[in-house]
């Protein structure tokens, strides 16, 4: 059900509020009045651009209700994906509350809240509590949750479009289902940026099967968006957009505050370093991303809020967050990947209603020029993309069952009905619920040897409870759905407890040898060694960093945007593209050929002693990755000794010891589909997905820093568990969940199917003596996936002989 804004208000703005708005010279937006009018609705979804007073619209009904009836106890729960946002909202709410002298207490509760304050909040809850999905899950896992939340009337979920894209949203909706049981009549409000499918988001939010009205605010004027004219051509390959530094500096100088978005942390680091070196006039510029220490990030946020910065180089870590009114330019460096996210990022500029947001796109290489031009067209036509949301994941459900048990005994029937009121779990079958309950209780193994050590037991009254109440603590420590790569802290030497610079992935740290240099927080540092799980580094001024890789989030280019790119390739020439890029495409057309929508281009060529195979499927990074897994598996069976592969959104590059002469056989649809059915065992992506799901479901405990320091033998690779289950219990729930999760996120076989159906065997194999223009960028891609086959043993044998000889040990 979609509503305009034409109906009679049921709840009017209290006079004090009208006076207050008028005194500040503000007009009440129509959607703010509409929210008040619909205050009694069981669920409401407000879609409004940033800067449109969206958050205040969410809070107005609460303020009005509490002002009228200031009874003690919790009235409204506000949930945001960011801790920083809760603190900011608390400050923003203070103004109207103080100026109108409203008897309303507002507090926040996040991972940073002190124990003392938490205890006090549990004894005497405020009227409005601001929190995060993780903190809510934690509060609900305590026995006193029914008392704390008694009387709760409203829940406001901010940035719900962002939460709905991850498992945090599924966890939150399970939490809201619990809250609705504890507080009958609880009303839900979701606040969202522009999305492609509002009814789907409404179903996600509402208590199933409650209706959810959708209010859409005036989207405001169209954004002012263009490609940045850098004068020089972007490089043939690579990322980072460093060629654009002079033009970017010039833009920074001409605007008040600029946000410069990058797709990966490594690229943000490299760009920031070079921007700083070129910053002759000393403009205050900072860097912000998820690998920096919290102190470093908070310093940047505070400086930004104080208006002390002219630019911040950032990643998705600033996609959400505090509205900085002074941001008047957003620069996106690198391919935008997804039109919807691009539109939301652009919205970060000029958080003033009815002022157009200004944004510039900086393609980092020539392929990205093509993608940027395609994206500009899509933004102009409001051609938003998005993949439909699947049903709620099983691993989150397992965690929720354990968390429920931590809060107290429960009845299986009642819990099942409650869970099916959560939008993502509305279609949950009883069989799947029972399997998850069995997993939580006994581990769910085919071998029932350890039933006496089960985690949950059924009491004679039929209710489930923890066998050992002390387990509750461990369950609480494992709550949350964000599973990060194992990370190590980076600290400056020599001072003991030297300055914390940030964190790097353990896998990356393991590749470092003393003397290697890398970039972090904008400075080049030298790796000195590992001490007590801390990476110790020293300063090395002016040296060129040898290595600069640490993974960031990777998004797949959307289907819609990929189609737009392939459509562009069909043109005989490209007047929309800068000359350098048009020439590059023309060169590819001469040397090899350009990919086409209904054909599949496959190139083979030797390079640096390895044979290469490049498949231009344009199916998005995840599907291309799966294609890499399937094709390398078939190559392994064919004795072609593949070593590894790397995938981007448009192609997969495979390298190995032997040349592929008949790629069409490897890419035959029937063969691929058959391979897909058997591929699950033993590949790296499945193991990575398994680890993440096993942590969420509570099969593997989170590795806390304290545990890692002491427990060297306590922790072993999750790969071992995966392999054991594959061998002894292939039907186990965790493997089923792993498969489902991989299909959703990392596998994306659907897009391979669609591509093969489009191509219908029309495969063009081009053999070249060297790297082709279109394949060149792939050599600089991070995220190479090894193939664990015969080639690995061949490499170890060769290296062993060489290393033994070098060490004089033969």
């Amino acid at each position: 059900m979609r509503h305009g804004l034409r109906y009679i208000p049921r709840m009017r703005m209290p006079d004090a509020f009208e006076t207050w708005f008028a005194a500040r010279g503000w007009t009440v937006h129509p959607h703010q009045r509409a929210m008040l009018a619909r205050a009694d609705a069981p669920a409401l979804l407000l879609i409004a651009p940033t800067g449109g007073g969206k958050t205040l619209a969410g809070f107005l009904p609460s303020l009005a209700e509490i002002a009228t009836d200031p009874a003690p106890g919790l009235h409204t729960l506000y949930i945001s994906p960011l801790k920083a946002l809760t603190a900011d909202i608390r400050r923003n709410l203070r103004t109207p509350i103080e100026e109108m002298a409203l008897p309303i207490r507002v507090e926040d509760r996040t991972g940073d809240t002190t124990q003392t304050q938490r205890r006090r909040q549990r004894a005497d809850p405020p009227h409005i509590l601001l929190t995060t999905p993780e903190s809510l899950a934690l509060m609900l896992s305590y026995e006193d949750a029914p008392r704390i939340f008694a009387g709760l009337r409203r829940v406001i979920v901010d940035e719900i479009h962002a939460l709905a894209e991850s498992k945090r949203g599924d966890q939150l909706m399970l939490g809201l289902a619990r809250l609705s049981t504890l507080c009958p009549g609880l009303r839900r409000v979701g606040l969202s940026a522009t999305v492609e499918d509002p009814p789907a988001l409404a179903r996600f939010l509402a208590r199933h099967p409650d209706p959810c009205e959708i209010l859409t605010a005036d989207p405001g004027p169209a954004p002012d968006i263009a490609m940045l004219d850098t004068g020089a051509a972007p490089p043939w390959a690579g990322g980072g957009g460093r060629h654009a530094i002079p033009a970017v500096l010039n833009q920074i100088a001409r605007h008040r505050t600029t946000l410069i978005f990058h797709n990966t942390r490594a690229q943000a680091e490299l760009f920031f370093r070079d921007l700083w070196l070129a910053n002759g006039s000393g403009l205050p510029i900072a860097i912000h991303h998820g690998s920096l220490s919290r102190e470093a990030r908070e310093r940047v946020e505070a400086a930004m809020a104080a208006g002390a910065l002219r630019a911040v180089v950032c990643t998705g870590s600033l996609d959400l967050g505090i509205d900085w009114g002074d941001v008047d330019l957003v620069i996106q460096v690198g391919a935008p990947k997804n039109v919807k996210r691009l539109v939301q990022r652009i919205g970060r500029a000029n958080h003033r209603y009815n002022a157009p947001s200004k944004a510039l796109l900086v393609p980092a290489n020539r392929f990205e020029v093509v993608e940027c031009v395609a994206a500009l067209g899509a933004v102009r036509e409001a051609d938003l993309d998005g993949e439909p949301r699947g049903p709620g994941p099983g691993d989150v459900l397992c965690q929720h069952i354990l968390a429920t048990a931590a809060a107290g005994p429960f009845e299986a029937d009642a819990l099942f009905s409650e869970i099916t009121t959560a939008g993502p779990y509305a279609g949950l079958t009883r069989a799947r619920f029972d399997a998850c309950l069995d997993f939580a209780a006994t581990g769910g193994y085919a071998l029932r040897a350890y039933d006496r050590w089960q985690r949950l037991k059924q009491a004679p009254d039929g209710r489930w409870h923890l066998r050992d109440p002390r387990t509750a603590r461990q369950i609480r420590m494992n709550l949350g759905t964000i599973v990060e790569e194992e990370k190590l802290k980076v600290r400056m030497r020599p001072a003991r407890g030297g300055m914390a610079l940030g964190e790097i992935e353990e896998a990356f740290a393991a590749t470092l040898t003393p003397g290697d240099t890398f970039l972090i927080g904008g400075q080049v540092v030298r790796y000195e060694g590992l001490r007590e799980m801390v990476v110790e580094v020293s300063r090395t001024p002016g040296r060129e960093p040898k290595i600069a890789v640490f993974a960031g989030t990777k998004f797949a280019t959307s289907t819609r945007l990929s189609e737009r790119i392939l459509e562009m390739f069909r043109q005989p020439d490209w007047p929309d593209l800068p000359a350098h890029t048009a020439e590059w495409l023309a060169l590819q057309r001469t040397v090899s050929r350009l990919p086409e929508r209904d054909r599949l281009l496959v190139e083979t060529f030797p390079h640096e002693g390895r044979e290469h195979l490049c498949i231009y499927g344009f199916a998005g990074r995840n599907a291309q990755q799966t294609l890499g897994l399937l094709v390398t598996q078939r190559m392994e069976s064919a004795g072609l000794a593949p070593l590894g592969f790397v995938s981007t959104d448009y192609a997969t590059l495979i390298w190995g010891l032997d040349a592929v002469t008949a790629p069409a056989e490897l890419l035959d649809a029937t063969g691929l589909r058959a391979a897909f059915e058997t591929w699950l065992a033993g590949n790296a992506v499945m193991k990575r997905t398994f680890r993440s799901s096993a942590v969420i479901a509570g099969l593997i405990e989170r590795n806390t820093p304290g545990r890692r320091k002491t427990g060297r033998q306590a922790s072993f690779s999750s790969d071992i568990l995966y392999e054991t289950l594959m061998k002894y219990d292939p039907g186990h729930l965790m493997l089923e969940i792993t498969r489902e999760e991989a299909m959703k996120g990392l596998v994306d076989f659907g897009r391979i199917e669609a591509m093969l159906a489009r191509v219908r065997g029309r495969i063009d194999h081009v053999r070249r003596p060297r790297v082709t223009p279109l394949a060149a960028p792939l050599f600089l891609e991070a995220g190479r996936i090894p193939v664990q086959g015969a080639a690995e043993q061949r490499l170890i044998d060769a290296a062993a002989d060489r290393l033994m000889a070098e060490a004089g040990l033969v």
Partner: protein, 234 residues
């Protein structure tokens, strides 16, 4: 055979790709850190419910090595059980499988830090064992020679052309051998950890387990030459 042969104190030994050590001349097979009953112990303590197949998996590997080498004696170098209770309370079928393996041969259980007390199982229970020129104990002692031990679960991490490989490994020098953990659910200690670095002499070799047992220098040449380690003579 894909084992890696070497000599310690005059004894001709072979590192098997499984992580077991074979002394053919003495008819002896040595395994370390089986950690039988680990998933059971974690479940009993109220920890996570890991797949309860580790004991079966470890015994399968042991059965394969015993079938291949047909030893007159088997020495388990300690931490054979994840704790004493795990030894008393093995999963169904495990004890029978162990007894079948023990039948007709000498079997020595060396005490480890996880299983200090004598288990109820047959076999000889010892703190350590001397056999010809070799001494078998759980934890290596600095200064000893001809010593075979376990405990540390050494693991090699290599970077081969940008690829990371991590494998349990033997550490071997002229004085001692440290065995990798044989048990299924066992983590590892990187072989460049200070404690292992201090125990092993210059020129020590790491023998990686896997499809074949492959020997590598424990310390890569480039890391050793420019930076003489403190305490090393010259």
């Amino acid at each position: 055979m894909t084992a890696h042969p070497f000599t310690l104190a005059g004894a001709r030994l072979a590192a098997l790709p499984s992580g077991a050590l074979h002394w053919a001349d003495a008819g002896l097979l040595v395994v370390s850190d089986l950690h039988l009953g680990k998933s059971e112990r974690l479940a009993r303590r109220g920890g996570t419910l890991l797949p309860p197949y580790d004991t079966a998996e470890t015994l399968s590997r042991l059965e394969a090595d015993i079938a291949a080498t047909d030893p007159r004696a088997v020495i388990c170098l300690g931490d054979s059980f994840d704790d004493n209770a795990a030894a008393r309370d093995l999963p169904p079928g495990a004890e029978e499988r162990l007894l079948r393996l023990m039948a007709g041969r000498r079997w020595v259980w060396i005490a480890g830090n996880h299983d200090p007390g004598p288990a109820s199982l047959p076999g000889t229970h010892l703190a350590e064992l001397r056999e010809g020129p070799l001494t078998f104990r759980h934890i290596a002692r600095p200064g000893e020679t001809g010593e075979i031990s376990g405990h540390y679960h050494p693991k090699a991490r290599l970077s081969l052309g940008g690829r990371r490989v991590s494998r349990p490994c033997f550490l071997v020098d002229t004085a001692r051998v440290i065995l990798p953990a044989f048990g299924a659910y066992t983590g590892g200690l990187a072989m460049d950890a200070p404690v292992l670095d201090a125990l092993m002499a210059q020129g020590a070799v790491a023998i990686l387990t896997g499809v074949r047992a492959v020997a590598l220098p424990m310390r890569p040449a480039h890391a050793r030459l420019p930076r003489p380690r403190p305490g090393s003579a010259g």
